[in-house]
């Protein structure tokens, strides 16, 4: 038997979370070190998966399959392909940096880290699941701790409202998706939740047209698709830093990923049928999110709405059903994940000192925390789609795909790039340049070395993909090539 690396990645966090609860709560130092050790190990494992993935090899790798409820055709079945391996790496990066950022959490750190790890397990589980039931199972595991993390550790002003809103949206979304999934299960007649088997089930066109929206929109809620995006900025703002990073960086990818895996890949004809709608909605996401981000004065709200805009590009890439669009969307998921994690990390760092995120009340932070400033600017350049950074590598193919199918949509969507530049420049100049406000003068200090390490790692990923797209694009292409065999993308070989 081969080394079950995926199962270890999936269960290491949740088991460690359980172990954490047995540590004495007053030993904060020990708790943090333990959490950091686990997070680092998880990160290393995700790196192993990423670099161990053989691009020339089989479609799914590191596969494991055990019976779970054989009577119902449910199995524990995991594996990664060229799309999900980068997402596993993304999750590893975000959990590791998220734990570093949370070193100073003073309210019940033990429970905080425990929930964070449960969340991580759920996320890993969704990315590697090849069984539809397992996917839903892990999906719920990921959503559940979000509620507690936000409601307990969040921003006092809105946390209860935001936590409730988020949970309701996501649960309702997943229930709708589940209905669609069950419809597939019964219609296939295969008595299995195995997604590889379901791919060949040959659902009729009318069946696909009817049920595709259930699955796609059910999951796309988590991806923040318009008009079901409102839970997300509120959630980002209310969540503590590490959770915001997870939330925007990874959790929203979960939605887009599941919409692809369960929706588009299992019901390609349904996808093709509903494509115009989805393009239109994601176009609204892209432009509308950018416009709203421009008006926000709270840094976290701005980033939250910018996520709505950028996630719109991911869904737009998928919805084009073109080869380029899929590749771009795959890169955009990673790029946006790392970028937003970096943004929220920086905001968290200065918020700890300034106790405000109102951009009008900030200024001159470049003088006290230049490292954080430069990292934020790098994130900003990614966000604007500057060549040389990962955002460009992602957006270029997406726009190519959109241009192929709907030139007019592409023309409208590029407006968002201009608006993005506007709000990013505004944020950078208000937060980091100008004068330090009088009431903050003398209360500020540079960020800690460990925090620099975290920001450095995130920025490194963004720049590496931007300068050497060869480190990621071929892997995502290998995934798209296999998808192409079942979905028949436009422009695919």
């Amino acid at each position: 038997m081969t080394f079950p690396i995926l199962s270890i990645i999936v269960f290491l966090p949740i088991v460690s979370g359980a172990v954490l609860l047995f540590l004495p709560s007053e030993r904060r130092d020990l708790i943090y070190r333990f959490a950091l050790g686990v997070a680092f190990l998880t990160f290393l494992l995700s790196v192993l998966v990423y670099f161990g993935f053989d691009i020339e090899g089989a479609r799914y790798q590191f596969m494991e399959q055990y019976n779970w409820l054989p009577a119902l055709g449910i199995s524990y079945f995991v594996g990664v392909d060229g799309i999900s391996a980068p997402l596993v790496l993304l999750t590893g990066i975000v959990i590791f940096t998220g734990v570093i950022i949370s070193q100073r959490i003073d309210d019940r750190p033990r429970e905080f880290f425990a929930f964070l790890f449960i969340l991580a397990s759920g996320v890993f589980g969704v990315f590697v699941a090849l069984d539809m039931f397992a996917l839903f199972f892990f999906y719920e595991i990921a959503v559940f701790p979000m509620y507690l993390l936000i409601a307990l550790w969040g921003w006092k002003k809105t946390r209860e409202y935001a936590a409730m809103k988020l949970t309701l949206y996501l649960f309702i979304g997943s229930v709708i998706a589940l209905v669609g999934a069950l419809a597939m299960y019964f219609a296939s007649g295969l008595q299995t939740f195995n997604m590889l088997a379901l791919e060949g089930a040959g659902f009729s066109a009318s069946f696909q047209q009817l049920w595709f929206p259930f699955v796609f929109f059910g999951f796309a809620v988590l991806g923040g698709i318009f008009p079901f995006h409102n839970w997300s900025p509120d959630g980002h703002v209310a969540a503590p830093t590490a959770v915001s990073m997870f939330h925007a960086g990874v959790l929203m990818k979960l939605g887009a990923f599941a919409a692809l895996r369960v929706g588009i890949m299992l019901m390609p004809e349904g996808a093709a049928y509903h494509l115009p709608w989805i393009i239109l909605l994601s176009l609204v996401n892209v432009v509308y999110g950018a416009f709203i981000a421009m008006t926000q004065t709270d840094a976290k709200y701005m980033i939250g709405f910018s996520s709505v805009s950028h996630m719109g590009l991911v869904m737009m890439g998928f919805a084009t059903l073109t080869y380029d669009g899929f590749v771009g969307a795959g890169v955009q998921m990673v790029s946006h994940g790392v970028m937003t994690a970096l943004f929220f990390a920086v905001v968290g760092m200065f918020y700890d000192q300034t106790h405000t995120r109102e951009m009008g009340k900030l200024g001159g932070l470049m003088k006290v925390m230049p490292f954080a400033g430069v990292a934020f600017i790098i994130g900003g350049l990614v966000s604007m789609g500057m060549p040389g950074f990962s955002g460009f590598i992602a957006e270029f193919p997406i726009f190519m795909g959109v241009w192929r199918s709907y030139p007019l949509v592409a023309i409208i969507a590029v407006i968002s790039i201009v608006i993005t530049a506007a709000y990013i420049l505004r944020a950078v100049s208000r937060i980091f340049f100008g004068d330090i406000p009088a009431e903050l003068e003398g209360h500020l200090h540079d960020i800690r070395p460990s925090e620099k390490l975290a920001l450095g790692l995130l920025a490194f990923v963004l720049v590496s993909i931007g300068l050497f797209p060869g480190v990621m694009v071929p892997m995502i292409e290998s995934g798209v090539n296999h998808i192409n065999e079942i979905v028949h993308l436009i422009g695919g070989a």
Partner: protein, 718 residues
Amino acid sequence: MTTETLIWLVPLPPLLAFFLILLFTKQNNRLSHLVGVGAAFLSWLLGMLVFVAAVATEHFGEHPFASSVGWLPLGGDTFSIGVLIDPLSAITLFFVAWTVLMIFIYSIGYHNFGQPKGDHDVPGLPPHGAKVDGHKVPSIEPLYARFFAFIALFAFGMFTLVVSDNLLTLFVGWEIMGLCSYLLIGFWYAKPSAREAAKKAFMTTRVGDVFMLLGIVALYSATGTLNFREILYDNHMLMMLASVDSGVLGLSAAGLIGLLLFIGTVGKSAQWPLHVWLPDAMEGPTPVSAMIHAATMVSAGVYMIIRMFPLLSAGWHAGGDLTATMTTMAFIGAFTALFAATIAVTQRDIKRVLAYSTISQLGFMVAALGIGAYISAAFHLVTHAFFKALLFLGSGSVIHGVEHGVLHTGEDIDPQDMFNMGGLKDKMPTTFWTFLIGGFALSGFPLITAGFWSKDEILADAFANGHMAVFLTLALAALLTAFYTMRQITLTFLGKPRSKSAEHAHETPRTMTMPVTVLAVFAVAAGWVGIPEHFPLIGGLLPNWFHDFVGGTLFEHPEAVEFNMIPLLVSLGVALGGLALGYLVYRNASAEDPLRKPLGKLYTILENKYYFDEIYDRIFVQPAKRFAENFSYLFLDRDVIDGLLHAVARASFSLGAIFRNYFDLPVVNGSGDFTAALTQRFGRILRRVQTGSVQQYMLVAALVTFGGLFYYLFRVLQ
């Protein structure tokens, strides 16, 4: 080392300098400028070697220097990036290398190297001067080292753009310059006007950039390549693109792609209607960044469309009807040339006159390309880069001299206002003579200046091919050009000083006068390489090298236009007439512009630049903000979508209550409805959370964790 290797190396020294200065030498001003200038010199040297090798190659157009490597895997095949030096990029590299090196050297003097630190100087503001032995003297720029880092990065962007063999890396260089222009215009970031100008420049050019990006995307979708030679030399493909309908505005695919790319140039080269950023960009350190924006970056926009000319003009043949895209270019170029020239006539700020003149001259090039005058456009690009660089550096020298007077006298006047100058001819002789040469070149002073030859060629081409509207518009613009140039020279250098500061102005250091002298040589000599063969008397004495060399870039060598007396006489007339008028009107000017009275209202309109800033603010900026804030965010997002959500939440609560009270309790007694149960479940969790009882939620966590695990293990073992 092969020439190809040298080309790869050309952009690298400035990039290296950027990192070296920021990481290591920031604290040491001397070391920093040595690194910066040294890098510019290395790039210059490499550029000259490449240029010489290019000139020495027979039939260079067919055998350019090219090499490439794989970079971005896209859609099954790999996207390669590489370098290409063909005749067009060779001459561009030539003028870029020279002007960049001169800017670097000039910056040393301009930022007062060798002067003491200012008494109250702060980073982010221009230096205020220092007191030494009771005298006020100029003080060194507080962020001296950083300036060299930024312009080094800028130079890297420009060199990258020039040596690129494909649109994507060209776009990379293009964007790097956009970013650097933001950093440099906002260099004195503590000045709100500089911050605003920086943002405006970045945002306005960005509007053009995204359309250019779309053009690139469209081109790649249509052809599967972005390599210049693969697209521009493939007649079959160009024909195909010219005949396929794009489905947008009735344009052909080539027409649409060309139009999108051209919008990029409209932004970058400050053409109407995206011209508004360039005059404000003069907020940058006078005049070095201004010169960068006027002589280097804006040239990139024109360079790109000259480069893509075969695509822009696909479907057109010499002498035939213009394509829709070309007509657009001809219209926008000619209109901008005239429009900006009229504004330049009324400006008081010495740099703003030059800024509008730049917009106008770029309009000449765009119009030339629009009517198919490929070589004239390239020729004017080169000569303009030299004389405009000269003029900007000269104006910086003037301002520097007057600022010196301001420090000396303590007067409170604007050192950039030409009406505060006058009589500087004797105080600053080198600056005067070089500025005069540059000004005459800009006006197209006959025979001896470079500007004459290139401008004349554009007019001759427009006339010969019967584009009379373009011809007349450009001729009128040329007349105004000569007029405002002479106005500027007269106000600045001739007559009597109109302020104490102007009396006390004196010549700037050698690090500033040397670069302008070098550029002055080119402002004259650069024209000699392109004298038409059939020009009366002197035609044919020197071979029309420029035409032969640059013409080789194209697939089909363009024919030189036949010589005609009429455009020559017109161009002589407007140049000399404009200069004479300018002198006559302004030779006795006082603090009041003599044109203000006769022009009346029109003068106010021109002075306010046709109110474009105000109009844009009214019709784009404010509505966009209102749309975003009031409609999208407050109304749609918060009122409608959230309002609906809250209504649903309230409804489900009441529905739950109804079910509970009227159905559940009396009827089922114990079971619940899905909606009600869901909402109530959360209510319960929330309540429990609010008790803050650690044990309780710990229990929840543990239960979930172990429950899930246990169930899983149980099943597996079974």
